[in-house]
Amino acid sequence: MSGVCEDGQSYDTKTGDALDEFSVQFRSTLDRLTSLRTLSFILISLALTFMMYLLSFALTDFIASKGYLVHMSVSTILMELIPILITIAAAYVATEKEGLLELSGVHAIAGRYLGAVAVTSILMIPVYVMIIVVQTLHGAGNQISSLQSFALTVVFAAIVTAVAMLLNTRTKHAFLLTFLAVFIIVPLFIYMIGPATDLVDYDVLCSVIPVPDMIAAVNASGHGGITILSAMSLVKASSGLPLDAFASFILFFGWAILLFSVLIFVTERRKAE
């Protein structure tokens, strides 16, 4: 026997509607996979990845020719490239092109959110493949731990998607703001309250807040600890799941859950107002 909600609808009906909302949003977001713009993104990201490899080899040779003891690892550049590509993809897929995110209801938001995370993750697959292909062609073998890297990519996409959607509830410029937030505002803030003021160690901060590590870049690269870029653990060639990668995963997952919850909260609050 079906129960009855406060608004008089049966629970079954309400559940069905909610699932419909979820399904509609999820599918419509997935449809973006087939857009021309997405296809262009795939091609451009593949080209960029390939070019980064060429660039890194050229830089390595150049630096070596100068006699410096610096080896410009391919992964160093990729570590910067991958999160940027993820952010582009997530911010594009998750946000409205010209307008605010006007979704209402947990299920609709969840549908859009999960769809966006899925699309973003799928879009990164060709990039990973390209990396492996180029590495193999170059004779360096496969340097990446694929499953681990991809798992971390998904949770990173989850964070960025939540940020983008959250921003899109307030501003039409969510795409740009997501970039600023992820790559400039948050890292700068972290840096200001951390190393710049000598209050908290940067590594400790990076252990709790995923921050793209551009500030600490020294020599060919820099990496202060567990940051967003360790999500691109691309750079780890290990067969198991090392503790720091596992920790990264948990941390990113936690942030994604929190941001998603805040997104729901903000949306509902706005609706109530």
Partner: protein, 417 residues
């Protein structure tokens, strides 16, 4: 049509991704990159060399000697590893390997630095039992009377290349016999560096420095996460007047190492005091470890002063057994340098573990007891992780997730109630 094309593309990509593990596994087919402990190139090479009674006619010309040695090595290895060729890129690492594992058979001539081998204050005692022709070629003198060295002495000037700052190091203030040993270990999570007295492994060296770098009863992890250059310089000068050896250690790093150790520009108590008695030694060398964002965090390692420059395309795995410096014995022993010649820079970690263990076992022979203990301790600490950081991260992640769920659910529960 467009959708079908994109879908086909994605399916193809997805299928390709399933090949990831296969690609990983396929690496194992390459004896160079992923050999197991039995057929690893290191084993192969060392065994081959050990089985070879090669006599090389070397000259005093470094480059010429290098060519001769390369040629000989290729000749030895060709039947065993037809796909592997020793060339300019991997020669140095391999040569040091040879020096470590087969000292009596072949020794790379590159231990003779370029330039005029003048040496004013003392000698570096190179711990290689070299065949006489090679000793002659390398200008290695016989052990001097009164020297504690059990080896011949390599009369070369090694004092010109130190460039890192030594200003913060304290002079020796008292005399006493002491030995010290350094060990450099790394795994995928970083480098372990410890110093201890070789003759008393329970005593860690350097109070202030020790506080920073060496934590007693623990293995300090220098997180070389993605980029780090560590410069570890050991500088010793013989004070003729007082008959005292001034041994100074220089640590200098960049990247994350700096941040962790506060070693930039001499910040922090980056000096170590030690003392020893010496009569005729001047060890002045610059030991550089570089981890240039290596995906597998393999360290690149070089002893500049010995022309062991194998930053490029070379790597030393996990265990650095190369630096056992016994100052009290007036010997600077570079032995058991564990080098894995891996072509470009690929190591499969799982294989690496087995491989390393094998190396450790192999390299144990002839290693000092203190060093063995050090290695054993380090290996016992399997993860080398900075657990506190990871724990903090995990706890933070869980707390955030719980908080998120609470934000999501609590208003609903309140609404219902």
């Amino acid at each position: 049509m467009k959708k079908a094309a994109v879908a086909a593309l994605l399916v193809a990509v997805l299928l390709a991704t399933t090949a990831f593990p296969m690609l990983d596994a396929a690496e194992g087919n390459d004896p160079i990159f992923n050999a197991d402990s039995k057929n690893d190139i290191l084993d192969i090479v060392t065994r081959a060399i050990a089985d070879t009674s090669a006599v090389l006619e070397l000259t005093s010309d470094y480059e010429e000697n290098k060519k001769i040695l390369m040629e000989k090595l290729n000749e030895i290895l060709k039947p065993i590893l037809p796909s592997f060729t020793i060339d300019e890129r991997n020669f140095d690492a391999l040569a040091s390997l040879i020096a470590g594992f087969a000292p009596s058979k072949l020794v790379a001539s590159h231990f003779l630095p370029d330039g005029d081998p003048t040496f004013s204050k003392g000698h570096l005692n190179a711990g290689f039992d070299l065949p006489q022709p090679l000793r002659d070629a390398l200008n290695i003198e016989d052990r001097k009377e009164g020297s504690d060295s059990q080896y011949g002495e390599l009369g070369v000037n090694l004092s010109d290349t130190i460039s890192v700052n030594a200003t913060t190091f304290r002079d020796i203030d008292h005399v006493g016999g002491m030995s010290w040993a350094g060990s450099f270990l790394n795994d995928y999570s970083g480098v372990i560096f410890r110093l201890l007295k070789a003759d008393n492994p329970d005593v860690l060296l350097g109070k202030d420095l020790g506080d920073k770098i060496i934590k007693k009863d623990s293995v300090y992890r220098v997180d070389t996460a993605l980029s780090a250059s560590i410069y570890i310089g050991m500088n010793a000068e013989y004070d003729e007047e007082n008959d005292v050896l001034d041994v100074r250690m220089i640590f200098k790093g960049s990247g994350s190492i700096d941040e962790r150790m506060d070693l930039i520009g001499g910040q922090g108590p980056d000096y170590i005091e030690t003392n020893t008695v010496a009569r005729e030694i001047l060890v002045d060398m610059n030991l550089t470890m570089i981890n240039p964002s290596s995906p597998n965090r393999t360290l690149y390692f070089g002893l500049n002063d010995f022309n062991l420059d194998f930053y490029y395309g070379m790597a030393i795995d996990d265990v650095y057994e190369s630096t056992e410096i016994r100052a009290s014995g007036l010997t600077a022993v570079f032995k058991g340098m564990i080098v894995r010649v891996i072509g470009d820079e690929v190591i499969d970690y799982q294989n690496k573990l087995d491989y390393d263990q094998n190396l450790i076992n192999t390299a144990s022979e002839g290693r000092s007891e203190a060093m063995n203990k050090l290695i054993a301790e380090a290996r016992g600490n399997t993860q080398f992780e900075d657990d506190s950081d990871s724990t903090l991260t995990i706890v933070t992640g869980i707390v955030l997730a719980v908080l998120g769920v609470a934000i999501l659910l609590v208003p609903r529960f309140m609404k219902r109630s």
